[in-house]
Symmetry: C2
DNA sequence: GGATCGCTTCGGCCGCGGCCGAAGCGATCT
DNA sequence: AGATCGCTTCGGCCGCGGCCGAAGCGATCC
């Protein structure tokens, strides 16, 4: 374990892993760039990570693409990020260097994170569509109906071995968002609707004009045109949701799981 | 994150964290001992871990007790251990220095792990009492009945915000065992029945003679008297379970969740 | 009150590991 | 075939951080 920790403990390697968190494979040169080191230094780091089976290597032509070796590795990195977001700010708040677009909306492995991710989670929680526990989460019966209305089949992932709905701590917002099959399905649906678009070389998600309208109407989340003011927080999201559309069918407060 | 990784990347600190994984608070001297360093070195490490809010400090008399600062930290360490167990053995199999009693049965935060933990999980899975997914797990309806027969109230933890049943990867056995509310309840029940006993200064669990009988009868797990031969693996556990007692009521194979 | 004990702080030693420049190697392009 | 490109290997520099001995400090014991 110490060995693994030491591997994660270098800023260059940590940056590389963070850059790979969405599951894409990146070439060595690009990883050198995100790690802010020369290619030869990066090469050394990548060799270590690959030796430890944290990264998998894919050769293509004269390029060598690296990606996280397994979801287990991703979840390990995620859990460290979560602790890092919560524990350290006291001593080292100064300002994270994460770019604004990343804070707004990004992919986290296969689901949405950032303000978008927690905004969806907050709105759904406020309406009793999802309940969060300390280390688990569940979609309520009314929540299943809501998702069906949103365009996510009721039987999605029923046969899959993955967790259906689980919370994932957001390291920029420091609040949970929705992961698991449901989280992935929500992201897929948003992409399908053309509400958000994946960026080619970062994990950032761009919110389209149609997306801004749709997300406000459905979840009560408002994104201003280009750079965005602060997102309304949970209380106001809940209120707004009550006042606008979709979410206010069978509005029930809090954690009980009303029968549809 | 790199900062956190560096913190975890020192063998001495890693040993300390591992020793605290069951949630107990240990005095500085004892942690120095498990880390195999002098008290003054340990003091430095502990200061760093405490500064980073990974450990919480409790002063009592002239002793200073340290414990993990939060369950989040525990789950982070756990996820690293899980990756360490799976990824590294290829290069560094040579023999773990974990003591045999720890491999047999130990606490993992608040539930059972080691051969005992995975044995229970295997037996229950083989009988369709629990199903494991990639990042989730659930107790089936027959499973709920089985647990009730075992002495665990049907409504245990219903109001808790913790995850009810979740898999936890065992880093000595490299297979999942049962964590969450159910995992904790099973351990509590085993303690209550006098089947296992917590050790004072390690996470090892001692299996009592009554426990050996009970565990065999209920779960089909056999522990020989003192040092134990290899535990029968999943297939044989399933067969044995069919032949002996308790588990064979409404025996159904595999993953379907039969209605009670 | 003095002795002991648990723990911390200080100071200095030393080795591991990250860093880069230079050079090498195979794939690709023209 | 030669030029370029992406990446790796080699070698040497250097600084961070872990380690321990010695000393200090407060609580406890007798």
């Amino acid at each position: 374990m110490a060995e693994l920790g030491a591997l994660l403990g270098d800023p260059a390697r940590a940056n590389m892993l963070a850059a790979l968190m969405d599951g894409r494979a990146l070439p060595a040169g690009e990883l050198a760039y995100v790690a802010r080191v020369t290619p030869q230094t990066a090469s050394g780091h990548l060799a270590k990570l690959t030796d430890a089976n944290l990264l998998a290597l894919e050769k293509r032509g004269r390029h060598r693409y690296f990606r996280l070796a397994s979801p287990l590795v991703a979840s390990m990195v995620e859990s460290i990020m979560a602790v890092a977001a919560i524990q350290l700010p006291a001593r080292r708040a100064p300002v994270s260097y994460m770019d604004d677009r990343m804070r707004t909306a990004r992919t986290c492995y296969d689901h949405t994170a950032g303000r978008l991710g927690v905004g969806i989670a907050d709105a759904m929680a406020a309406c009793g569509y999802v309940v969060f526990g300390e280390d688990g989460a569940a979609i309520t019966e009314t929540g299943t109906g809501f998702l069906a209305d949103f365009g996510i089949a009721r039987d999605v992932g029923r046969r899959s071995r993955r967790s259906f709905c689980r919370p994932c701590l957001d390291w920029s917002e420091r609040r949970p968002h929705i992961a698991g099959i449901v989280g992935a399905a929500i992201l897929d649906r948003c992409l399908e609707l053309g509400w958000v678009e994946k960026s080619k070389d970062t994990r950032a998600l761009a919110i389209t004009p149609a997306g801004a309208r749709g997300l406000d109407k459905t979840f009560g989340i408002q994104f201003s045109s280009t750079t965005l003011p602060t997102l309304r927080r949970i209380a106001s999201v809940a209120n707004a949701a009550g006042a606008s559309s979709n979410l206010n069918t069978s509005r029930t407060s809090g954690r009980n799981a009303p029968v549809r």
